[in-house]
Each structure stands twice: as structure tokens, then as C-alpha cells.
Subunit: 202 residues, 2 copies
């Protein structure tokens, strides 16, 4: 299995380089379990979901604490048939396909309830894509049912679902969506946007 993300941080300030470089320190506790490569458009972060999502959460929360309007954007993927297996991605967090949707939803809610807060608000929207054979809309609708019970659900929008709340549970909600819906050997992706300190009225 190969899992990871292309991640970008957009600080809406003249001092954007400093905000980005300072926020990258938040990845330090996670670096030994991740492979990280940067270019001028995005940073590739390869690793298992249980490390990847907390690392993204900490990157976001540190940038948000600058007080500037910042946006974190990530293209997340697991199980892409075009990517080679990588031992660093080994994980036991993916759903058992034999397990009914209702059980997976309960486990996702239990994981969320155990998630600590980070003290930074996260306004997020994301799309979950489940590729390949099988009933991809059943998995997506099952995921949306979970989201509506998550405590972070804000509303459905065209093409995506909007979450809001503390960064801890918001990133954990996206992690549960990524891991527990869609087949464990399937190709699942998420298109994620998380915004802090926007001057626009919600």
C-alpha cells in the first residue's frame, strides 16, 4: 500500500515564506515516520494515515496560530494502482471490507470521541473519491451519514462537504472518512481545504 499527500500552505500575507518555514517545525515530531519532499508547488508527504493526519493537523494549527489568514490544501491518496508499495506506509487503520457500514460508522465516532482538541478553529471542506469497481456511491453515502453525526459537520455543498470545529476533531473526522470507507485495497482519494482566520463572513 502507498499512502500520502501533496500538501500546500497558503498564508495570505507578504511574510508568507516565514509563516510557512515556521509552521514546518510542527512536522518535526512526525518526521521519522514520514518521507517528505518539497518543490515550488507542493510538499509530498508519504506515510500511514495515523501519522499523516496528525502531522497535517499540527502543520495547520501552527500556521493558524500566526493569526494570518492561511489555507492548507492537500491531495490525499491511498492505494493508487500506479504507485509502488512502500513499507513506511504500513498501517492497520483501514476498514475491514466485510464489516457492515453501520459498524464502521460507530467505530469512526468512537475514534473521534477520543480525539483531543488543539485550540485552533478549522473551517474545512473536502471531497472523498472511491475509485474502481463496487458501489462507490454507497460508500460515499455511508461516509456522509457518519459525517452528519461527527459533531464537526457544517453543511453539504456542491462537490464537497463542509466541516467546522476545533482542528483536532476536524482532521480526525477527515482521517476516519479516508480510512473506514472504500475498500482497504482500493484507490481512495481526498481533496481537502482547511481555512483559518478568514476575514469573510461565514
Amino acid at each position: 500500500m502507498f499512502s500520502g499527500a501533496q500538501v500546500s500552505l497558503y498564508p495570505m500575507t507578504d511574510g508568507f515564506v516565514d509563516v510557512i518555514l515556521s509552521a514546518l517545525n510542527a512536522l518535526d515530531p512526525w518526521r521519522d515516520r514520514l518521507r517528505i519532499e518539497t518543490d515550488d508547488i507542493s510538499t509530498l508527504i508519504v506515510g500511514p494515515p495515523e501519522v499523516l493526519f496528525p502531522a497535517l493537523r499540527d502543520l495547520y494549527a501552527t500556521a493558524a496560530a500566526s493569526g494570518h489568514h492561511i489555507v492548507l490544501r492537500a491531495t490525499l491518496s491511498r492505494g493508487c494502482p500506479g504507485e509502488p508499495d512502500d513499507p513506511i506506509c504500513q498501517t492497520s487503520t483501514l476498514a475491514n471490507p466485510a464489516q457492515p457500514l453501520a459498524e464502521r460508522q460507530s467505530e469512526a465516532l468512537a475514534a473521534l470521541a477520543a480525539t483531543p482538541e488543539k485550540g485552533q478553529i478549522a473551517d474545512a471542506q473536502f471531497s472523498l473519491y472511491v475509485m474502481g469497481a463496487g458501489d462507490h456511491m454507497a460508500e460515499i453515502m455511508g461516509c456522509i451519514d457518519f459525517l452528519k453525526q461527527s459533531g464537526t459537520f457544517d453543511r453539504s455543498k456542491n462537490f464537497c462537504t463542509r466541516l467546522t470545529g476545533d482542528a483536532g476533531p476536524v482532521f480526525a473526522t477527515v482521517q476516519e472518512a479516508f480510512c473506514r470507507f472504500g475498500p482497504p485495497n482500493g484507490h481512495v482519494t481526498i481533496d481537502l481545504t482547511v481555512s483559518a482566520n478568514s476575514p469573510s463572513t461565514r
Copy 2:
């Protein structure tokens, strides 16, 4: 059919609000063929691909002309089974599924050759997702073959393909990928990032 995008513009400057508001004027020539709704995270733009992509291109090129480091991000979708049909989205640009991949690739290249330049460089990366039954990887590999011949192909990255060139052909390349690969009645999405004036070395 329902097609459109959730679009955001990120100017990395203290004057980000002014850059965004000025760039939105670039949508004026397209507005009567689009439905546009804005909130604090993104702007929903609903309409057919042949209007949507040139509108995004003009929005990008106008923001890039400010000289600031700016990024345009879009979550594009067509044929999502969860969205209602909308007459504003009527289009004849989607591929005929009976047509072999090689023919679709030739037509995409011919469309690109007829695309005028905009005078702004676009560094882009995007992921194409084809959902539902059928061989989604065959369509994606067919699309990648086309991209490699497009003249805008820069390189493959994990989870996405990177393009570079003038904004005219770059946005046209993404439009061809969106319209000619994947079944016309299928659910196809694109996760797109386009960057201008980055201070990072490529």
C-alpha cells in the same frame, strides 16, 4: 448533467482581498453562461466545460498579472450522481464512449493546437479521478499519454501530473483531460492547483 467547480484564489500578500476582487472582473464576459455563488472558503461556479475552463483561465491570468505569488485552486466535477441536472451545464464537448482512446487523444491535441496564448505562465498540477464501473485506470493512462504529447507536460509526480506553459494551453490541456477521458455520463473529477510568481526555485 451537472458540471462545475469549487474555486479559490490565494494571493500571498497583505493586499489579498484587493487582488481577489480585481481578478473577479475577469469573469464578467462569462457570467451570463455561469451560475456563481461565493462563501468564505470557495466560489461555486456551475456551467459547461467550454465556458468554465476559459473563465478559470482568465481569473488566473488576471490575478497572476498582479505580480504577486498567487495560487488558483479548483475542485472540478461533472456527472456526480448526487447532483441534479442543470440546463446551464448542457454541452456537446464530452467524449463519445464508442470512440477509441487514440482518436480522442488526436482530437484533444488538435483542440490544443488551436488555443491562443494569454501571456501569463502557469505552473499547474492536477489529478483526474474517474469513478464508477469500468476500467478507470485505462482512461487515466490514456489521458496521461495525451498529456505527455500536449506540449505542456512537465513531469509526473506522486498522485498528480505537473504541467507548465502559457496559461492558454495549460488550462486547455486540463479541459481536454476533463472532457475526453472517462465516460460522458460518468462521474469525473479533477483536483487542480495553478501557481504564478512563486519565489521558490523550480
